[in-house]
């Protein structure tokens, strides 16, 4: 043996190595736990990170002598960039557009002018040979050009990306969705003072203020091809057939700013501090309803023709009332009256943002009230003391950027009321600001010292603005909600969806489920533990204890399946019987006990009291069968024949088939063995001399139990309940299968809930890695981890102390 083990030295070495290895393994357990904790934190951390804005690249433009056109006579109207932050463009008042490479690539050096053109077409800076007098950009970065003749054309700026080997080339392109020809913005050659434009799915809408103070809406859509064939009027190639409709909204309107929501449903007109909102979404239908007999004022023309016969005389007054939806004055409630200095639409077509001359930004949207839908001020952001010059919304999220008169930039998020970033991005006067389509970059155009202008690209690291402590745990007023609420709704089909990440309803659901489970489990588990540990003969105990503990091994997926598909329908059908059992079961037990007490002595010997659990079993089963058998009779007596109907109609309580009662019972079953096992151990290991002493002093077994045993074992029982609670809080499958998984805030026993764990199981597989949703789900897991960590640690500490106490007794 010694020979095989080698020399003494190597044996000692092996001994040492074994010690290190085993210690490593032991410490590894602690390491694992800490690592899980840290990893969850690591994934969560970015949602609480600050926003960072850093300059990436800067190019000087327009001082280039090779530039073909001299633009100094026209100022910059808009700037923009592609989604890969490679190419920037700037648009001048006269319609000139120039594209510049922002960063070096294999194809162009940074600062190269890639393409210069007129928005209206290649050579002449005009629409149908008339000079461009006004340009408007829609929320999704499409342009509408107005020429001196009152005609409009549409231009999209597109970027085509081309991959070659490892590098990517971005090629800008101008697209003309309705062809290169224009159409009359307003009928009858009226002069245009102001106009606004929005487009969605091939339909475009313009709101125009004419110089004679009329407000006109123009809607254009491409003609259906089938209709063309019916009319047998094939347009010439290259000319798109359009449907154009004109509607006069109001007369005698003054306006400083016009806006139209991206879904084309509302027109917003601002006249100094008065904001009027016009409803546009059912123009055609309403027009017909009002004036069916009158001649149709919709003109169907080929857009190459400029003659649109439009008649707009009838019922102007009634239109006024019909279309004008609401009027309000933001900032009017402030004591020192501020003026509106900027107005913008938040992404998603619901909210309007107003900036004031005193440095506030106010968000308004429509709210359902008893008087119908009314615009309300939802929240204010305090930006500073300087007037807000411009508000730039992001394309998809509810973030917005503010620029004040001192050139200070601010980044905010409406839903979470997050004040994300403040700072300066321009040294000189900034001419324009653009946000990249993915909202991860910012382009600033400012005057450069060498003349011309300077374009600077900033990276914006603003991944998770929608999550703040406030958004997670407090009431938030979401768009289209009548009041602030706790809502969990993480996804929807729309890109502009306002994510609702309130952890309150699902945390509440977790607590509710655990609460009902504990109400069911604690009495049964503790009484069973008391009896098994203290009264039961050891022979029976050896059989009973493993049987009950066997329940712990039952997969929860099976408990959940039975709860959802077997128990829930039974409870729904026999609700009355279940309630009845709550009352008659204890009574039955007491009756049986009394009956046994009155039995003759011989019988008592044959059926000793220590067998009482077994004696009770047939009685309990019998009473339960009786209760279910007479459930419908019972319902007929007390609940008008159908208890479910009674509950919903007379008591006004909603009933879900998969409700908290089902969860209470099913999850109660899952927790009973946990509580039972630990509590039984605690009671059983109470030192025997304590009980013997009490009994010797004349106490009855029950008195001994209450005064000595339970008192000594109470920390152990408490720790058992803690462990059970920990298990109930984290249980996933039962809640997943036996509740409706609706995140509601209601203690009602007959309604469902959604818990943290079930929520993770449902949504985790579909969440995009690294998205806010993904990180919030990790946060939910972290909350669960911390919850159970506290319960378990507390329980274990108490148990360790109790063990020491017992061994010292």
């Amino acid at each position: 043996m010694t020979l095989r083990s080698g020399s003494a030295k190597s044996r000692l070495l092996k001994n040492k190595l074994a010690r290190y290895f085993i210690t490593l393994g032991g410490v590894g357990v602690l390491f694992t736990l800490v690592f899980i904790f840290l990893y969850l934190l690591y994934v969560i951390k970015p949602i609480f990170d600050d926003v960072e804005v850093d300059a990436l690249a800067s190019i000087l433009v327009n001082n280039d002598s090779t530039s073909q056109v001299n633009h100094t006579n026209s100022s910059i109207a808009f700037i923009g960039l592609d989604e890969y932050q490679q190419v920037a463009y700037q648009v001048r008042q006269n319609g000139q557009i120039d594209f510049y490479q922002l960063v070096d690539s294999d194809f162009h050096r940074s600062g190269t002018n890639i393409l210069s053109s007129s928005l209206a077409g290649n050579e002449p800076l005009a629409v149908n040979n008339n000079p461009v007098v006004d340009i408007v950009r829609s929320a999704n970065n499409k342009f509408a050009l107005l020429n001196s003749d009152g005609q409009v054309n549409l231009v999209d700026v597109k970027f085509i990306s081309r991959y070659l080997a490892d590098s990517q080339e971005i090629q800008p392109r101008l697209d003309y969705p309705i062809g290169k020809q224009g159409f009359d913005l307003v009928p009858n050659q009226a002069k245009v003072e102001l106009f606004s434009y929005a487009t969605e799915q091939g339909r475009s809408r313009f709101v125009t203020l004419t110089s004679d103070k009329r407000l006109v809406v123009t809607t254009i859509s491409k003609k259906q091809k089938q209709k063309q064939k019916q009319k047998q009027k094939q347009p010439a190639a290259g000319i798109t057939a359009l449907n154009i409709r004109y509607h006069e909204l109001a007369k005698e309107v003054n306006a400083d700013q016009l806006l139209i929501t991206p879904d084309l449903s509302l027109a917003i007109v601002r006249d100094h501090n008065l904001v009027s909102v016009y409803r546009l979404n059912d123009l055609a239908e309403r027009r017909q309803m009002l004036n069916e007999s009158s001649e149709s004022n919709t003109a169907s023309i080929l857009s190459s023709e400029n003659s649109a016969a439009v008649e707009l005389s009838a019922d102007i007054e009634r239109y006024n009332r019909e279309f004008l939806h609401s009027q309000f004055q933001p900032f009017s409630s402030l004591t020192d009256k501020a003026n509106i200095s900027a107005m913008s639409l938040l992404s998603g077509s619901s909210s309007i943002l107003f900036g004031s001359s005193k440095g506030e930004v106010s968000q308004w949207f429509e709210v359902m009230t008893s008087r119908g839908r009314v615009f309300k001020e939802i929240r204010q952001f305090d930006v500073g003391d300087n007037a807000i010059v411009a508000i730039y919304p992001e394309l998809f999220r509810k973030s917005f950027f503010t620029l004040d008169s001192e050139q200070d930039l601010g980044i905010f998020y409406t839903t979470s009321e997050a004040d994300l970033w403040r700072g300066k991005v321009a040294q000189q006067t900034s001419l324009a600001i653009a946000i990249s389509p993915r909202a991860d970059a910012l382009l600033v155009s400012e005057l450069s010292e060498q003349g011309g202008s300077q374009l600077t690209l900033f990276s914006v690291d603003n991944q998770h603005p929608e999550i703040t402590w406030r958004a997670l745990w407090q009431r938030v007023w979401y768009e289209d909600y009548p009041e602030p609420a706790y809502v969990w709704q993480s996804s929807s089909g729309s890109d502009e969806f306002e994510a609702k990440f309130s952890l309150v309803p699902i945390s509440f659901g977790t607590i509710k489920a655990a609460f009902y489970a504990m109400i069911f489990a604690i009495p049964i588990a503790i009484t069973a533990a008391i009896y098994t540990a203290y009264f039961m003969p050891s022979k029976l105990r050896r059989k009973v204890k493993p049987t009950i503990e066997m329940m712990e091994a039952l997969p929860t997926v099976i408990l959940g399946f039975l709860a959802g598909l077997w128990l829930a329908p039974i409870i729904e059908q026999y609700l009355a019987a279940v309630l009845l059992l709550l009352i008659i079961l204890p009574i039955t037990v007491l009756l049986v006990a009394f009956g046994w007490h009155k039995l003759p002595k011989d019988w008592k010997l044959m059926l000793p009291e220590s067998w009482s659990p077994l004696i009770l079993i047939p009685f309990i089963i019998l009473v339960s069968v009786f209760a279910f058998k007479f459930s419908s009779t019972f319902e007929a007596w007390f609940f008008a024949g159908d208890m479910r109907l009674y509950v919903t109609e007379y008591l006004g309580i909603d009933y879900d088939q998969r409700n908290a009662l089902v969860i209470g019972i099913a999850m109660g079953f899952a927790v009973i063995p946990t509580i039972f096992s630990i509590a039984e151990d605690a009671i059983f290991s109470v030192p025997k001399h304590l009980t013997s002493g009490a009994l010797a002093l004349g106490a009855t077994p029950w008195q001994t139990l209450i005064t000595v045993v339970l008192l000594t074992a109470s920390p152990g029982i408490f720790s058992a309940i803690m462990m059970g609670l920990g298990r109930a809080v984290g249980e996933t499958m039962i809640v997943l299968m036996a509740t409706g998984n609706t995140p509601i805030l209601d203690w009602n026993m007959l309604q469902g809930m959604r818990t943290l764990a079930a929520n993770i199981a449902i949504e985790m597989p579909e969440s995009e890695v690294g998205s806010s949703h993904y990180r919030v789900l990790f946060l939910a897991a972290f909350v669960l981890f911390v919850f159970t960590f506290i319960f378990n640690t507390l329980a274990e500490l108490i148990r360790q102390r109790l063990r020491d106490k017992y061994s010292s007794l």
């Binding site: 092996k14 010690r19 393994g25 032991g26 008391i530 399946f561 039975l562 764990a757 159970t788 640690t793």
Partner: protein, 561 residues
């Protein structure tokens, strides 16, 4: 009475009720699962019901009785059922009781009618009162099919290759169809799959070379040649597959359904034909056992709602085995540390609390951790390093059987630790002292004395860990389990064990079929059967573990004396 109350006896009985209740719950639950699960395999009697419908016409339905329930009259009164008016009048006269209609209940039975191509619903409710005649004709055939569930009806004729043949040919033709189906399966699962696998491997190989710029003319040619050979093989297999399929379509069977409609069924779709009403008890037992065997060994059909659960059993077992390999050494080493090496200090206490917490952390949290860390971080890195040619399709960067095993290993670690440590604690210290006194080092004592004695305790721990892992579903939903896995993680293609593949699991199968399938009512018996299988495995494992532990305790007691 008062003395009885004072003795505390009522309270004792009430606490005894807690025990009774728990016992009823455990045993009742097991009985429920067992009875429902086993009845799934038992060939049921098939009845023909003649009943009057709402229009007063007599119709007939063939099917198995699935459920019965009592409905209060009030709930169905609005339906204005024709049989009710006459019947309730009869019963009132007959019994002479003055039952108000509100208190009366009606019995109705749920009938499984099958024949999914004729009626949309598998089931229908019939009021007992509306049934005119209930019979069980001997010639009703229950035809189990690959598609559309069971068919109940009378066999009229058998058509073989366009010719009507005698009914006695049925077993022969069935055997032929079965044989051909097996050939199809062998071709599809064996040769054709292998060829596809090789083709995919070749494509990845080519792409890898291309990415490394090592693809020269020669290798390209070689690859093209190999590909041509494989594609030729593929076409050959496909041809033989088509010819077998053609042969399969030769025979048909003509059956009449309950409503008199004649239907022609292909032999290719038929799995089994039984005349349930003709079976003796012995036949039924035989059929019961056969169905049981099919359930355990066959593959699922119709989106898991029919057929067997073999892939789920296989997936569960493989995943659990992998997990055991990972968890056992770690758990044992940690337990040895805690019991043999760690001092009685705060640090040890902290580790013990960590163990308890590892056991108490909700399983879904492990799933989240496993998904984030193992799947996306570790798996994603492995993909970038070794499987770049397959990107963007992930290899290890997606849920799979390996990550499931690792995640569950962390989850079951405390089970092994606690059980092993308990075993170590029971070994009398005299044994350790004896060994050390004879000059052995601590490591040698551990290796030669302690571990062999503690091995049953370690076994117990591992078995308990297996039982825990086999029933755990929530974390697996995030890290690797799927509804239907196209191929098993273990097959004949190199490297045989495909750790990156997704797998099926019995527990998830229950969740999926019970809650996500389109026809839950029809799938429910199968879910009970699966639940029974899972419960029996887990209960057996637990009982085994407890038995080992008890034997161990006895042994040590003997050692101490």
């Amino acid at each position: 009475m008062q003395s009885w109350y004072k003795s505390g006896s009522p309270w004792v009985w009430l606490s005894a009720a807690g025990v009774s209740f728990s016992l009823i719950a455990v045993l009742g639950l097991l009985w429920l699962i067992a009875s429902r699960g086993l009845s799934y395999f038992w060939p049921a009697e098939v009845y023909q019901f003649d009943f009057t419908d709402e229009q007063g016409q007599t119709q007939s339905v063939i099917g198995e009785i699935y459920d019965r329930e009592q409905v209060p009259y009030a709930q169905v009164a609005h339906l204005n059922l024709p049989f009710l008016s006459s019947e309730s009048a009869d019963s009132e006269q007959a019994s002479g009781e003055h039952l108000t209609n509100e208190q009366q209940t009606l019995e109705r039975i749920l009938i499984k009618t099958g024949n999914r191509e004729l009626t949309n619903l598998d089931f229908r409710w019939l009021f007992q009162g509306s049934i005119v005649k209930q019979s069980s004709p001997e010639h009703i055939a229950v035809i189990e099919r690959r598609k559309n569930g069971d068919f109940y009806g009378f066999i009229d004729a058998i058509v073989s290759g366009g010719q009507v043949v005698e009914l006695s040919q049925l077993p022969l033709l069935l055997a032929r169809a079965r044989n051909l189906q097996q050939q199809v399966k062998k071709l599809e699962r064996g040769e054709i799959r292998s060829v596809n696998f090789e083709l995919e491997r070749l494509r990845l190989h080519e792409r890898k070379l291309l990415m490394k710029n090592q693809l020269d003319q020669n290798t390209q040619q070689e690859i093209n040649q190999q590909r041509a050979v494989l594609e030729q093989n593929y076409r050959a297999f496909e041809q033989s597959l088509n010819s077998v399929r053609e042969q399969l379509m030769r025979d048909q069977i003509i059956v009449t359904a309950a409503n008199g409609r004649q239907v022609s069924l292909d032999f290719a779709d038929i799995l089994q034909i039984t005349y349930n009403n003709q079976l003796t008890t012995l036949d039924k037992v035989g059929l019961f056992l056969k169905q049981l065997a099919v359930f355990v060994s066959d593959e699922p059909r119709e989106a898991n709602t029919e057929g067997g659960v073999f892939p789920a059993i296989f997936g569960t077992v493989l995943m659990v085995l992998l997990m055991t390999i990972i968890v056992s050494p770690f758990g044992v080493v940690a337990a040895i540390y805690l019991h043999e090496y760690a001092g009685k200090n705060t640090f040890t206490r902290v580790i013990r609390i960590a163990v308890i917490n590892l056991a108490g952390v909700p399983s879904i949290v492990y799933g989240v951790f496993g998904l984030g860390f193992f799947v996306y971080l570790v798996g994603g890195s492995i993909d970038n390093l070794f499987f770049g040619e397959a990107l963007p399709a992930p290899t290890f960067g997606t849920p799979g059987v390996l990550w499931s095993a690792v995640t569950l290993a962390i989850l079951t670690l405390p089970v092994v630790i606690v059980s092993t440590e308990e075993g170590l604690a029971r070994i009398p210290s005299s044994l350790r002292h004896g060994s050390l006194a004879l000059g052995a080092t601590k490591a040698e004592t551990l290796w030669r004395i302690i571990l062999p004695i503690a091995s049953p305790a370690i076994m117990t721990g591992i078995i308990l860990a297996i039982a825990r892992a086999a029933g755990e579903v929530a974390p697996l939903m995030l890290v690797g389990v799927v509804k239907i896995a196209p191929s098993l993680p273990l097959d004949g293609d190199f490297p045989f064990l495909h750790l990156e593949r997704k797998f099926m699991h019995l527990g998830f199968h229950i969740y999926d079929v019970g809650f996500q399938s389109p026809n839950i009512e029809a799938a429910r018996p199968l879910v009970y059967a699966t639940a029974l299988l899972l419960v029996s495995i887990i209960v057996a494992l637990n009982v085994g573990a407890v038995a080992i532990r008890n034997r161990l305790r006895e042994k040590y007691r003997a050692l101490e004396q």
